[in-house]
Amino acid sequence: MREPVVSFDGVCKSYPLYHHVRGIKHLLFNFPRNLKAMKSMQYEAIRGISFDVYRGEQFGIIGHNGAGKSTTLGLIAGVLKPTSGRVVVRGRISPLLSLGAGFHPDLSGRENVMLNGILMGLTRREILEKLDEILDFTELGEFIERPIRVYSSGMLARLGFSVVAHLDPEILLIDEVLGVGDIRFRQKCAKKIREFKRSGVTMVMVSHSVDGIARLCSRAMWIENHTMQMIGDAKEVVAAYQAANADEADASDPVNEDFAGVEL
């Protein structure tokens, strides 16, 4: 039987709208009157989602902006805690892979590799063993010794992907990043991802590029309006998603198109 490494069981996540409370002045003026109101002012990001991701699977999450995709990833990463329901994760998780995740601008690329690896749960010794390989993969040359605030966004993405890809994640979380970098590096990433696929690393990815999801993932989930709309074979889910959005495709989300066409 297939073994679930990520299980969501009726997971809800709502955010209180904290910004109403910021600042003592505001708090004092609104305290008696708005205490009740403040508690009820919640933003529900996802509502009653249940699914399993199995070991070695490539799992895609699609949906409109603000549908709850990133919240779902945050819950898997353990950065967010569910308001109700249960999230169970078995295995070492990579950080949420996106531009400059967990990087400190004043440290050099090399130092950031070390920082990220340790944050991921590895020890110094384990990282040192792989350091050369990682630095090679980034193709950053002498930039590796410079503080990353002077990096371009493509260089940051390269560093980020290199770290995460080489530190033996058991569960790899990818949040909309592979569209960055030049075509050669994107191909390199794609190759690395296919390698992961073969070696049985579990991957959960969020992307607007539904083509990428269809090509790369075995299963996918479509989140619409904070609830699960559909889950199943990636190609079928993507097809349904595209069909549902066909009529409004022109006006709805022009941003989406920027990410389309990323070769994976």
Binding site: P16, L27, L75, V79, K81, P82, V89, P95, A101, L107
Partner: protein, 262 residues
């Protein structure tokens, strides 16, 4: 309200490395962009000692013997205390890029910050020794047990305060300016640039109410005379425990929401 993260167990070695790399990071970041580096952590209290000496000894003529030494014995430990408390509200805010992306024990960031400030204090000890020798004083042997006690107690207190302020500041951002005002007030309400025997009789019994006062009085006596008032040690230890308990419980209550508000 349950989340089981079987995937997030960390080895002891990883905890240790995490702490080391965060402290290293703080130190590197602090010195990366300035030329004088180490001189700043020593130079700052030295400059202020000169200013206070001018204002209080030369102009106002306070009658304290060896006033430059009194100043330095107070200002160096106070700089550790004040810098640590002053920078603490920003700790989690500044760490937002990692807090939002990776799940790790966040209470380790304030710990790294407090240790970083402690290291700067330890770096300034040689300067204190040189100044003592300059005034024909020999560092007393009692430092051997006195320093660890004082450093330990101050670490406890600062870690507690840092956890408390760093956590609260995420939700109420007014903590940051508030902390800097309280530090400035605390500086003058604590016997640092004056000795405790200058405090009028009728206020003497209030000394233990200031969490920093017993600690700072002991620092000066330890550095200059090699003596510790053990009643004061107990009081500061009590404050240390109190802040640690308070800081940790507030942190525990709020930690799971950090990523939401950053």
């Amino acid at each position: 309200m349950k989340a089981i993260d079987l995937g997030n167990h960390r080895s002891l070695e990883n905890y240790r490395d995490l702490l080391i790399i965060l402290v290293q990071k703080e130190i590197k970041v602090r010195y990366k962009n300035n030329v004088l580096g180490y001189l700043w952590s020593v130079g700052n209290p030295l400059m202020f000692a000169v200013v206070y000496f001018f204002a209080f000894k030369i102009i106002m003529r306070v009658r304290v013997e060896a006033y430059p030494l009194v100043l330095l014995a107070g200002l160096f430990p106070w700089q550790w205390f004040a810098n640590s408390v002053g920078s603490s509200p920003k700790i989690f805010v500044a760490g937002s890029s990692i807090i939002k992306k990776v799940n790790f024990p966040r209470h380790i960031i304030p710990l790294a910050s407090v240790l970083n400030h402690m290291i700067h204090f330890c770096f300034s000890l040689p300067v204190i020794i040189v100044l003592l020798l300059f005034y024909d004083k020999v560092p007393p042997l009692s430092w051997l047990y006195g320093m660890p006690i004082q450093i330990g107690v101050q670490l406890m207190m600062l870690y507690g305060i840092s956890l408390l302020l760093a956590s609260l500041n995420l939700f109420v951002r007014d903590i940051e300016p508030l902390a800097s005002i309280i530090i400035q007030m605390g500086f003058f309400f604590t016997p640092i640039i004056y000795t405790e025997d200058l405090i009028p009789e009728r206020f003497q019994h209030l000394i233990p109410l200031n969490p920093a006062a017993p600690l700072m009085i002991n620092w000066r006596n330890l550095i200059l005379e090699g003596t510790l008032n053990f009643q004061y040690v107990l009081i500061s230890f009590g404050y240390g425990l109190l802040f640690l308990a308070l800081g940790y419980s507030v942190y525990k209550k709020l930690a799971h929401r950090f990523a939401e508000v950053l």
